[in-house]
C-alpha cells in the first residue's frame, strides 16, 4: 500500500493506493480543527448574546434587540464553525467509476458514485463569488447541464487538487481510449 500526504494549516491530504495491485486510488482530505478560531467565534457569539440579554433584562430595551443579538450569534457560529465536515474522500476505481464521500462530525456520510462511462472530463476551474475566488475540481458528466464538484464542502488549495485531477484525467482518458478501440473493433468485425 503506497501512501503520500500534504499538510496545510487547514487540511491534511492523504493519497492512498489500496490493494497489492494498487487498483484503487483513494484521496482523503481531512479538516484540521482550529481550536483558537472556534474559541474566538464562540466568545464573540457569547458576547453578542450577553449584550442582547443585558439590553433586554437590565436596561429594559425592546425584545427585538435580544432577538437580533441571538440571530447574529447564530449566524456567527454557523459561519465560523461551519457545517462540521470531518473529511472528504475521492475513490478512483479505474474502468469502473469514482466514489465521492463527505464525512460529517455528526456521523452522517454523504456518498455519490459516478460511473466512469458518464465522465466526459475532469476540470480545474476558478470559481468567483462576491467575496472570494478559489479553485474547484469538477466533473463534466454526460447528460448533465451542471458541473459536479468533486469536493462538495471544502475549498482546497491547488497543490492538493492537482494530483487528484491528474489521476482522474488518467483514469477517464484510459477508459475513453479503450471504449473507442472497442467501438472500432466492433465496427471492423461487423464489416
Amino acid at each position: 500500500m503506497n501512501e503520500s500526504s500534504i499538510a496545510t494549516a487547514r487540511f491534511t491530504y492523504i493519497h492512498d493506493r489500496k490493494w497489492p495491485s494498487a487498483a484503487i486510488d483513494v484521496h482523503h482530505v481531512i479538516v484540521r480543527q482550529s481550536n483558537l478560531k472556534g474559541l474566538l467565534v464562540c466568545l464573540l457569539a457569547f458576547g453578542f448574546s450577553a449584550n442582547g440579554l443585558y439590553l433586554f433584562m437590565v436596561l429594559d430595551k425592546s425584545p427585538f434587540a435580544l432577538l437580533w443579538s441571538l440571530l447574529l450569534s447564530s449566524i456567527l457560529l454557523k459561519l465560523g464553525i461551519g457545517k462540521s465536515v470531518l473529511k472528504e474522500s475521492v475513490m478512483i476505481m479505474p474502468h469502473f467509476g469514482v466514489q465521492l464521500e463527505t464525512h460529517y462530525k455528526s456521523g452522517r456520510i454523504s456518498r455519490r458514485f459516478v460511473p466512469v462511462s458518464t465522465i466526459l472530463k475532469p476540470l480545474l476551474l476558478e470559481h468567483v463569488n462576491p467575496v472570494t475566488s478559489y479553485w474547484v475540481l469538477s466533473l463534466i458528466l454526460l447528460k448533465e447541464e451542471e458541473l459536479t464538484p468533486v469536493f462538495k464542502e471544502l475549498h482546497l488549495p491547488l497543490k492538493m487538487l492537482v494530483p487528484i485531477w491528474k489521476e482522474l484525467c488518467g483514469s477517464v482518458s484510459g477508459d475513453n481510449d479503450s471504449s473507442v478501440h472497442s467501438n472500432v473493433e466492433d465496427h471492423e468485425q461487423s464489416v
Partner: protein
Amino acid sequence: MAPEKQRILMVSDFFYPNFGGVENHIYYLSQCLLELGHKVVVMTHAYGNRSGVRYMTGGLKVYYVPWRPFVMQNTLPTFYGTLPIIRTILIREQISLVHGHQAFSTLCHEALMHARTMGYKVVFTDHSLYGFSDVGSIHMNKVLQFTLADVTQAICVSHTSKENTVLRSGIPPEKVYMIPNAVDTAMFKPAEERPGGNEIVIVVISRLVYRKGADLLVEVIPEVCRLYPNVRFIVGGDGPKRVRLEEMREKHSLQDRVDMLGAVPHASVRSVLISGHIFLNSSLTEAFCIAILEAASCGLLTVSTRVGGVPEVLPEDMVVLAEPDPADMVLAIKKAISLLPEIDPQVMHERMKKLYDWHDVAKRTEIVYDRALKCPNQPLLGRLSRYLSCGSWAGKLFCLVMIIDFLLLHLLQLWQPEEDIDKVPDFVIPPVEISSAFDQEQDD
C-alpha cells in the same frame, strides 16, 4: 532602459459585453499591453449570466464579479463590501499595479481605495468631463477628490479633460498625464469606392440622449434638408430622444430623406459609416469623442460641435467645428459640403493610421506605470494627511473611512492569511494572433 514587465489589474464597471468609449479603451489598451509582454487582468461586475472568470483574445483574463449593478451599470457602493474579493484577486494574480477607469464607476473607486490601503500603486484614467454646479456633479467631484487624494498617477484623454479633472479634484497637475484615445484603423477602413451620385449622405451615430445633442439634431436636420434637396441623413443609435427625432421626421415629411436605423451593433458601425460622406457629431460635452476618430478613419469629413476636448482630436482640414447652436451647425454643414470634393478617404485613413495608434497609447501608458512604481511608499499616517486637505468635514470623514478600511484589512488578514490564497499559474499565449491583424493591415 526598457520598462519592466508588470502585472496590471484594470478595474471598471464598464467593460465587454457593454460597448462604449471606456469599454473600448480598456479592451484595446489591455490587448496592446499584453503584446508588450505585460500581464493584464480586468475586473468588472457580472453582466446577466456572464459571471466568473472568462478569457478573451490574447489571453486577457476577466473577472466578472457577481455584484449586480444597481443604476446605470454601476455596482452598488458599499465602501468595504468589495474589500475581500479585491484583496483575493490582487494576491492570487500577483498584481503589481492597479489601473482604474472612469470617475462614474463605483467599483473603480472602491478598488483604488482598497489597493492603496494594501500598499499598491494605483493609476486612474478619467474619460469624461463633469460640471461644477449641479447636485450630481458636486457629489461626483467630492468622490473623485477622495479617490485622487491618494492616487499615484492619473491619466486624462485630452488637455481639456486634464484641466477639468485637476479643477474638480484638486490633484496636482504634475501628477496628471495626457494620453489620448486611439482608433482601430484595421477595423475602420474606407470603402473601396466612395458612395457616388449627386446625393450627399450625412451620418449620425450616437446615443440619442440630451448629452449627445439629440435636441440639436431636431433643429438642424429639417433646415439642412430644406437648403439642400440632395442631402440625406442616416441616424444610427437609440435612446430617450429617439421619439423627438421620429416626430421631427413626421412633421417635416422627411421619411424618405432621414433613415432611422435604431441601435447599431459596434461590429456594424463601419458599414454604416462608409455609406456616408459627412459625419455629424452634435454632443454638448465630450472629453475626447472616439466616434469622430472612427468616422475620420473611414474617410468621412466630420462636422462637430466645438465642446470639451473635440477641437484637440482632429486636424483642421479633417473637421469643421461649430458652436452647439442649430444656426451655426447648419453653416458648418454648408461649409463641409463645399469641402467634400477635396476629401480623399484613403488619404484621410492613412493619416489617421499615423496619428492614432493603440500601440502608441500602450507605450505611453507604460511610461506612466513606470513612474507610478518609482513613487515612494507612504505609511498610513502620511497618506491620511492628504485626505485631511479635502475639506473641513469631508477630510475628517475620508480619514475615518481609510482608517476603518485599514482595520478591516488587518482583520481580513487574520481571517484569511495571504498564504491560504493560491497564486494563479501563468498561461502564456504567444502574441502572434494579435500582431497578424496589424501586420496585414500595414501590408494592405
